[in-house]
C-alpha cells in the first residue's frame, strides 16, 4: 500500500514539473532562454512515479529531456531554473545548462546530452553499491530512441551478469525527434528486450503515476535484495515538439497527427492522478487547488531567482575542469 503522503507528493512533483516547463516555454518564446530546450510536459507520470519510489540516497541519471528527472527526485527548482538561464547560482554554475542538470548531494548524477550515454554511468553507480555492500540503488532514464544504442545492450548485460541494483527506465514517448519508435525499435516493445538479458521487463502505462510507482517499487525490492536489474518501459507522450530550441523541427514532416496528440492530452497524467486522489479521498478539491497554487508560486519564485542571479564571471571559465588548475602545452 502506497502511503497517502506519497500520493500527495507525486501530484505535487508532477505539477511542479508541469508549471516549471510551461514557464520555460514562455521564457523561451520571449527569447529569454538560449540553446536547446527539451520539455517534459505530458511525461510527468514516468519520472515522478519512478523517483518517488526511491530513497533520497538512491541515485538517478537522465538524458537531454532533463528537467523532469531532477525535479521528480526532489531537486531545487531555483537552482535548476538558474542553470537553464546560464547563471552562477545554477546547479552547475551555468556550465551545464538545460541538458546537464545535476545535484550530487541528493543522488542526481546528472543529465546527459548524448543519448543513452548515462546508462553505463548509472550501471556503474550500482556497481559501487554492490562492491561496497551498500544498499542504495541506481535508476536511469532513457528514451525509446536511445534504447537502440549499443550502450544500453552492454549495460543491461553487465548489470544482469553482475546482479547490479540498477533500474533501467525507458520513457517511450513514441518518438525520437520525428521518428516513431515503430520505425526504430524492431520489436513491439522495448521492454520485450529484457528477455535478452534474463531480467524482468515491465510494460507500464506511464500516464498512470501510481502504476509507475508500483513497477519501480518492485524493481527496487529486487535490486536491494541482490537479484539484479529490471527494465521498465513507461508508455507516454510528449506534448511539445522535440526541442523548443530548434524551431525548424516542430511538426516538420507531420510526424504526428493532432488526433494522436489529443488522445494523449485526454489521458493527462496529472488529471488522472487528481481524479484518483479525489476518488480515494486522499485529497479534497480545495487541497489540490492549494497545492497547485503553491507550485505556481514556487515556479514564479524560481524564475525570479534565476533572473536575479548573476552570470558567471569570466574568471570562472577554467574552474572545474580539473580538481586543481593545471598547465597545458
Amino acid at each position: 500500500m502506497i502511503p497517502r503522503e506519497k500520493h500527495i507528493l507525486m501530484l505535487q512533483r508532477m505539477m511542479r514539473i508541469r508549471f516549471f516547463e510551461n514557464k520555460l516555454i514562455e521564457c523561451q518564446k520571449a527569447g529569454e532562454i538560449v540553446g536547446a530546450l527539451h520539455t517534459y510536459t505530458g511525461e510527468e507520470g514516468v519520472a515522478v512515479g519512478a523517483c518517488v519510489a526511491l530513497n533520497d540516497d538512491d541515485y538517478i541519471a537522465g538524458n537531454h529531456r532533463s528537467h523532469g528527472h531532477p525535479i521528480a527526485k526532489g531537486g531545487d527548482i531555483n537552482k535548476a531554473m538558474a542553470e537553464i538561464f546560464g547563471k552562477e547560482d545554477g546547479y552547475c554554475k551555468g556550465k551545464g545548462g538545460s541538458m546537464h542538470l545535476a545535484d550530487f548531494s541528493i543522488g542526481i548524477l546528472g543529465e546527459s546530452g548524448i543519448v543513452a550515454s548515462s546508462v553505463p554511468v548509472a550501471t556503474g553507480a550500482a556497481l559501487t553499491s554492490k562492491l561496497q555492500k551498500k544498499d542504495f540503488v541506481s535508476l536511469v532514464f532513457f528514451g525509446d530512441g536511445a534504447s537502440n544504442q549499443g550502450a544500453c545492450h552492454e549495460s543491461m548485460n553487465l548489470a544482469a551478469l553482475w546482479k547490479l541494483p540498477v533500474i533501467f527506465v525507458c520513457e517511450n514517448n513514441q518518438f525520437a525527434v520525428t521518428t516513431s519508435y515503430k520505425d526504430s525499435v524492431s520489436v513491439d516493445h522495448v521492454s520485450d528486450r529484457a528477455s535478452a538479458y534474463g531480467i524482468p521487463g515491465v510494460l507500464v502505462d506511464g500516464q498512470d503515476v501510481v502504476a509507475m510507482y508500483e513497477a519501480t517499487e518492485q524493481a527496487v525490492i529486487r535490486a536491494r535484495s541482490g537479484e539484479g536489474p529490471t527494465l521498465i518501459e513507461g508508455l507516454t507522450y510528449r506534448y511539445e515538439d522535440h526541442s523548443l530550441g530548434l524551431a525548424n523541427v516542430r511538426r516538420d514532416g507531420n510526424y504526428r497527427t493532432d488526433e494522436e496528440l489529443n488522445d494523449w492530452l485526454n489521458r493527462d497524467p496529472i488529471e488522472i492522478h487528481k481524479k484518483f486522489l479525489l476518488s480515494q479521498k486522499f485529497a479534497t478539491k480545495e487541497e489540490i487547488d492549494k497545492m497547485e497554487n503553491d507550485e505556481i508560486i514556487a515556479v514564479d519564485e524560481a524564475l525570479e531567482f534565476a533572473r536575479k542571479s548573476p552570470y558567471p564571471d569570466a574568471k570562472q571559465l577554467f574552474d572545474d575542469l580539473y580538481t586543481d588548475p593545471i598547465n597545458f602545452a
Partner: protein, 327 residues
C-alpha cells in the same frame, strides 16, 4: 550567379549528386524531415529507398554505410561531430583503416557530413570540433568548407571521391550567404572544387592569416579594421586539411614573413598547432617573428552565454595576434 546560404549550397550539392548517380543515397536521423536543413526535399524527390531515416545507432548505421560502400553504394551520412564519438569504432577501425589494411582491395566512397554546432549555447556534449583528430588518424579526407561556393563544390567533390571524406560543416556558417555560380556559367557544367588547394580569400602583404571554417569570417572583418591602421593581411582558407596545401601557405609566409593561424578547435594538438609546426619546420628562415596561434581555449564548452563566447577565436583576438607578429 546566385546568392545562397551555405546550407542551401550544400543541399544543392547533394541534390545534384543524387540526381547524377543512383548509387548515392542519404542516411541519418530524421533526414526525411530535414531537421538540420541540408536534406531539404531529398525525401520527396528520391523516396524511401534513397533517403533513409535511421534508428539512434550511429555506430550501427555508419558501419552499415561503410559496408554498403564496399559493394557498390555511395552513402552520404548526416550526423553531428558530437554524435561521432559513439561511432568511433566504425569510423576509425573500419572507415579509416580498411582500405590500407586490405592492401587496397576496399573502396570506400563514403561521405560523412558532420555538423559542428558550437557557439550556440549547446554546452559540452554538443559542441565538438573534432577535425584535428581525423588529421592525426590517416585514411580519411578532412574537408572544412567556409564559403557557400566552396561548400557546394567541396561537397560534390567529396561525394564523388572514392575515398572516405568527412565534411565538417560549421553550424555558425549555415546562414552565411555568398555567390555561387550557376552550372551554366561553369566551363564543364558543374561546380567541383578540388581537394588540397587552398583559397586565397584576400591578398595582403604584412602577415599571413590561415583560417579554418568560421575563422575566415572573423579574419575578413579583422582585415577591414587592420587596413584602417595600414596593416594588410593575407587570408588563406586551406579548405581541406587532409589533403593539405602546404605550398600556398609557405609561399605566402615567404612574402609576409609572419603567420597567424586561427582555428576554433581546442588549441592543444589543433590544426593550428600542426600548421605552425609545419611552417616552422619548412619555412623557418622566412619567419620574421614568432607565429601566433588563435585557437579555442583548452576547456570544455560551457553552456552560459556569459562564458561560451570567451572560448573561441574572434575578430579582436585576430587583430591582437596580427599586431603581435608585427611588434
Amino acid at each position: 550567379m546566385k546568392n545562397l546560404m551555405q546550407v542551401e549550397a550544400i543541399n544543392e550539392a547533394i541534390h545534384e549528386e543524387m540526381e547524377k548517380d543512383e548509387a548515392v543515397y542519404y542516411m541519418g536521423e530524421d533526414v526525411r524531415a530535414s531537421i538540420y536543413g541540408a536534406s531539404k526535399d531529398l525525401f520527396n524527390k528520391y523516396g524511401e529507398n534513397r533517403v533513409l531515416d535511421t534508428p539512434l545507432s550511429e555506430n550501427g548505421f555508419i558501419g552499415a554505410a561503410v559496408g554498403s560502400s564496399l559493394v557498390g553504394m555511395r552513402p552520404v551520412v548526416e550526423t553531428l561531430t558530437s554524435f561521432m564519438w559513439v561511432a568511433m569504432d566504425q569510423l576509425v577501425s573500419q572507415l579509416a583503416k580498411m582500405k590500407y589494411m586490405f592492401g587496397g582491395q576496399a573502396s570506400l566512397p563514403v561521405t560523412i557530413k558532420a555538423d559542428m554546432y558550437y557557439n550556440g549555447s549547446m554546452a559540452a556534449h554538443h559542441s565538438d570540433r573534432s577535425y584535428p583528430f581525423f588529421m592525426n588518424m590517416p585514411g580519411i579526407k578532412v574537408i572544412v568548407p567556409t564559403f557557400p561556393e566552396d561548400a557546394k563544390g567541396l561537397m560534390k567533390t567529396a561525394i564523388r571521391d572514392n575515398d572516405p571524406c568527412i565534411v565538417f560543416v560549421d553550424g555558425n556558417l549555415g546562414g552565411l550567404k555568398g555567390d555561387v555560380p550557376e552550372n551554366s556559367e561553369i566551363e564543364n557544367g558543374e561546380l567541383l572544387i578540388p581537394f588540397g588547394k587552398a583559397r586565397v580569400v584576400k591578398e595582403g602583404t604584412d602577415c599571413t592569416v590561415v583560417g579554418i571554417v568560421n575563422s575566415n569570417v572573423h579574419a575578413l572583418s579583422a582585415s577591414e579594421k587592420l587596413e584602417k591602421e595600414g596593416i594588410s593581411i593575407e587570408i588563406i582558407d586551406p579548405r581541406t586539411l587532409v589533403p593539405f596545401d602546404k605550398e600556398t601557405i609557405l609561399k605566402s609566409v615567404e612574402k609576409t614573413g609572419r603567420l597567424v593561424v586561427v582555428d576554433p578547435a581546442h588549441k592543444v594538438c589543433s590544426a593550428a598547432s600542426e600548421i605552425i609546426s609545419v611552417v616552422t619546420e619548412e619555412g623557418f628562415w622566412n619567419l620574421q617573428a614568432p607565429p601566433v596561434k588563435v585557437a579555442s581555449e583548452q576547456v570544455h564548452i560551457p553552456f552560459s552565454p556569459a562564458l561560451e563566447p570567451l572560448i573561441y577565436p574572434t575578430e579582436e583576438k585576430i587583430i591582437e595576434a596580427v599586431k603581435k607578429t608585427l611588434e
